[in-house]
Amino acid sequence: MINKLTVKNLTFGYAGDDVLHDFFMAIGDGQIVSIVGPNGSGKSTLIKCIDRILEPRSGDVLVERQDLFKMNRKDAARLVAYVPQNSLRVFTHTVFDVVLMGRRPHLGWKANEQDEGKVWEVLGLLGIENLALAFFSELSGGQQQKVLIARALAQDTGLLLLDEPTSNLDIWHQIDVMEILRTLVRKQRLTAIIAIHDLNMAARYSDRMLMMKKGKILANGIPDDVLTPENLGTVYGIKAMVKRIGDSPFVIPLSRVLAKGRGRM
């Protein structure tokens, strides 16, 4: 089986030390994969490197067998879509126009019937057609997140990268967004890679989890194998209990471990 996404020897650093060094990762098709890890572990950096928002120093990113770094930006944007974390913007657009932007990699200069049809299709898919003419800045956080997911879907890629899609949402909208993602992955055979802080939300909706610390993957597998008290101790420096509730593991944090030499406080 071909991996949907392969990341090989990826090295990236800002000014000083490398955030990611010789990073390797392979992800199969049709899955939800969560990337978890403490602040500064390189989750968001990894996602941005895969999408070429940040330019890595070296390495390759293959989607199926095509090397993203060897094609132009527009072609790459037909293979990978990105859902950003926050959406601070100066000039606001209507929801329709925001989603239409996702068609950009497919457009010539003019948007045609087909592109507009695609926009209506994804708006319908997410049940937000009634918001089409509303202004993005006037929406609630949950609605904004859905619009950004709609835009990524309009981009028509097989791979979605999401940066903390639930972090600013109330619990209802967190579940709503994750359910939508699960349905999309199952129904449209997408692959979704999600950088996320909420371990329990990740455990409940992910097919696989990657646990990162300081730019390295320390645990990788189904949620049951990744979310163990030992792993939580090494990666997060916390003492925790892991219970099984329903089909998925559930983390109950107990206390922090004040070990010497831990990189973060």
Partner: protein
Amino acid sequence: MRQALLRATPGLSWQAPGRTRTGKMTPMRQAHAHSVQGKFFFLGALLLLLIIAASFIITLGQVPMTVRQVYLTLFDRLIPSGLDINPILAHVIWDIRMPLITGTVICGVGLGVCGCVMQAVLKNPMASPFTLGISSGAHFGVSLAVVFGISFLDGPYFLVGNAFVCAALCSGFIIGLSALRGATSETLILAGIAVNYLFQAANQLFTYIADDEQRTVMSYWGMGSLSDLNWNSLWFLGAICLVCLPFLYGKAWDLNLMTTGDDCARSMGVDAHAVRMAVMVVASLLVAAIVAFTGVIGFVGLVAPHIARIIIGNDHRFLIPASGGIGSALLLIANAVSMNILGGVVIPVGIIMSMLGIPLFLYLIIRGKRREFWA
């Protein structure tokens, strides 16, 4: 399995989107189609209004004439038809008023469009050719010529040459400086504001050491005026517009994406830094050319895009032409007032522009049309 998932997520519907089962357009789709039609209608109406306003304004002034006479004269000029044309009238229309009106329209369009694209690539509603120091760079060039007699061009256009070269150098400096830091919108704005203050200080220094006559030239130039435009300068400005404006309009989609943030733009296939650089270079060149001939009329570039945003929204496919149209409408009106309000005395148009434009602008932002297009 699929059924179970659908039941679990009532928000998701897999029905044919956008249309009801009978294939009719949903109300939402109709509303969207109407809003697009509305934008086209507005652009058409704006164009019509510009033509009507220009036709009327050209008849104002010391020599009275009618709109019909103007059109007959122009027609005769283009296709000699042996019509009975008053030669004095023909001279006034063709050599004095036409260059002025045409120049006003060109400068208004250029400044409006440049303000609009600069606001977009800098993601900042306060960006305009004026705030970025291009005008004070041009002013510096003029001062250099007036006070020290240093000029880059000989002949009648030495002031224009100086203004253009210094404005271009100034924006080149800003753009180059920010390129060192990765060309983010913040570095561009900060560099622009800093350079603006630097040139202002230099201008103040020059004013301080200049004699009275030199001071008059400098301060007159700083007020902005369209009355020195002639056909030669218009050919030059027109040629630059013909190159720059289509280029900028061609970036409309990229600008839409860039207003949502560099990260998003890059992830959708737009190289944000490269587009920002290209747009800034082209827009600065156009502004430098306009400012060199007209002096400081900075306000149009700030206010026209915002009026356009309030009316038509932030889709640059519509916003760019609307900004240009509103820019030239504002400048036409301000120019007509400046030429005619005091009988024979022409007040510099930059002053009128600010005195009329600022209350209008404040009214528009405070009247509180519910939506904040720049927030």
